[in-house]
């Protein structure tokens, strides 16, 4: 009896969850499917879910007819570059706050987070003008700088929470064992914190890859990453759904896969530790 009724509710819950999950996922699935259709099928009034002539034509077209690779490369340079530069700056700061805390550490952390809460329009004009004056508009360097700075607080924060979990005694042991500060960081701290550092890197690559304020405003033809390139498809003339889908799929799928790996870190990184 009890087994039966709990089985019944499991079937109902499963059905419900898969239906809702399917609906939420549908736009992405639809985009993936459309990317393999011909343009005619893509706008057909009686669209078919799977029964169509699968074609790779759209991908070929997008890759050959548009500077797709340039923008893809820009996205990679900007997201990975800014995350690596960010790590270099954030690791020492997180080390300081986690292992040599002072009375001001907490306030300092809060202040760093508060910079993340500054709305971008609050500094839009000065940044735009500074970029113009320093010839940084539409350059990858400029975007790497901005991405590094807007994600730095999250990086420091995440690394701080990971470092906090490393027992201080292990670092003290290395000091007793005759390790210099460099030895301590390279042979002990970094290897132990490697999983946390990797997660931090991953989440920041994702966040920078998808950032769509500064990338749209500060870039044009040269340095535009995929966010800005895709936005150029918004012009109303010529709705090429299949090609839009192919371009979108290539922009989204890598990050989707990375993102699924980083679910847990996402909670930690984006809730600033408010939810564990």
């Amino acid at each position: 009896m009890a087994v039966n009724s709990s089985n019944k509710s499991k079937i109902i819950y499963t059905f419900l969850a898969w239906t809702i999950g399917g609906l939420i996922f549908f736009p992405i699935l639809w985009t993936l499917l459309t990317s393999f259709k011909t343009e005619a099928e893509a706008i057909s009034a009686s669209p078919s879910l799977f029964m169509f002539d699968w074609t790779l034509e759209n991908y070929k077209e997008v890759l050959s007819r548009s500077p797709y690779f340039t923008h893809f490369w820009n996205s990679i340079v900007i997201s990975i570059g800014s995350s690596l530069v960010g790590l270099l700056i954030a690791i020492p700061a997180a080390w300081s706050m986690a292992f040599v805390p002072t009375k001001r550490t907490k306030n300092l952390l809060m202040w760093m987070l508060s910079t993340k809460m500054l709305p971008p329009v609050g500094v839009l004009i000065p940044i735009y003008l500074l970029f113009r004056d320093f010839d940084l508009l539409d350059t990858k360097t400029g975007l790497v700088i901005v991405m590094t700075l807007i994600n730095l607080p999250i990086m420091v924060w995440m690394l701080y929470t990971y470092f906090k979990e490393i027992p201080n005694e292990v670092l003290e042991a290395s000091r007793m064992d005759g390790a210099t500060i460099g030895d301590e960081i390279f042979y002990v701290l970094l290897p132990i914190a490697l999983p946390g550092i990797a997660s931090t890197l991953l989440l920041n690559v994702i966040l920078s890859w998808n950032e769509a304020f500064w990338t749209l405003i500060l870039s044009a033809a040269n340095a535009a990453p995929l966010t800005a390139f895709i936005a150029s498809y918004s012009s109303p003339e010529g709705l090429f759904y299949a090609k839009l889908s192919a371009a979108s799929a290539m922009a989204v799928v890598p990050i989707l896969i990375l993102g699924w790996f980083s679910q847990k870190q996402l909670v930690r990184g984006l809730s600033f530790g408010a939810v564990k």
Partner: protein, 290 residues
């Protein structure tokens, strides 16, 4: 550990982060503040005289500001309502014993990783387009006139798209929180004869309150700055029907080159965000101590 040596080293290691963030935050913010008191338009050469609070007066009394202020409220409020309601429901559903839970979780989470420009364009063209969109096909199939989403209900359509993007975030945070609920507590409640509703209102919801507050505050910070979704779907139109404050300041500064007015708007936006941020910092601060 705390020796003089390590303390001075720690200061040195903190230095780059602190200085960079200080420059990033303080310098441009001061410049914005300064510009906001000038009559400064990039299209009008000449000196930029000091005009006091005139920019603020213009910005705040502009009907476009009033409209976009309420649009911002509606956008933030609407998305919060949908994502929190949906998120709590989904979190509870995903917390049940179901087959293939991991796969459902992956599907629910996916929209969060789609870049804003892609999700806005996919929804705009492939789903919500009044002629070729899937919704239009569906409407004519059941014999209803298709809705022209971005002409008839532009703000609502954007609220819908943004909610789709942020529902995964709310669900994930709330699910994490629900999973940390003490199972023994629930079993004790079962023994005490509590029904599902009293369990939800007296145990689950209070347990979630912290996560809910976090979702509200964090989403608010991001939702106040929604930009790309508006840019690629409606460009703020028709008229100002789907313009929020962020987008308004963007048009004023970079499309009309009104540095003074845009800066005044920027400062207003900073003040609004600060009010939210103060509550958020309190929440996180409490957590840091605990």
């Amino acid at each position: 550990m705390a020796t003089t040596n390590s303390r001075s080293l720690a200061k040195l290691m903190l230095f780059p982060s602190v200085v960079l963030l200080l420059i990033w935050m303080i310098v441009p913010l001061c410049m914005t503040l300064y510009f906001s008191f000038l009559d400064y338009n990039l299209l009008i050469p000449g000196d930029n005289p000091f005009i006091g609070f005139l920019n603020y007066e213009f910005f705040i009394t502009d009907p476009a500001f009033i409209e976009s202020f309420f649009n911002t409220l509606l956008l933030v409020g609407g998305v919060l309502l949908i994502t929190l309601g949906g998120g709590i429901g989904l979190a509870i559903l995903l917390d049940q014993a179901i087959w293939g839970q991991n796969y459902v979780r992956i599907m629910v989470l996916a929209p969060f990783f789609v870049m804003p420009t892609v999700s806005a364009l996919v929804w705009k063209n492939m789903l919500m387009n009044p002629v070729n969109g899937l919704f239009a096909h569906f409407a004519s199939w059941i014999g209803v006139t298709p809705v022209d989403f971005f002409a008839q209900i532009p703000l609502l359509s954007i609220i819908f798209i943004v909610s789709w993007q942020w529902l995964p975030f709310a669900t994930l945070i709330l699910l994490t929180s629900i999973q940390s609920l003490d199972r023994e507590q629930l079993e004790a409640a079962d023994l005490d004869g509590a029904g599902p509703f009293s369990k939800f209102f007296y145990m689950v919801l209070p347990h979630l309150s912290r996560a809910i507050t976090a979702v509200i505050l964090i989403e608010t910070i991001f939702l106040l700055s929604i930009f790309a979704e508006i840019l690629v779907t409606t460009s703020g139109g028709p008229g100002y029907a789907s313009t929020n404050i962020t987008y308004l300041i963007y048009t004023q500064s970079l499309l009309q080159f009104d540095v003074g007015g845009g800066s005044a708007g920027g400062i207003v936006a900073v003040i609004i965000a600060n009010i939210v941020a103060i509550f958020l910092m309190r929440l996180i601060g409490k957590n840091l101590e605990g």
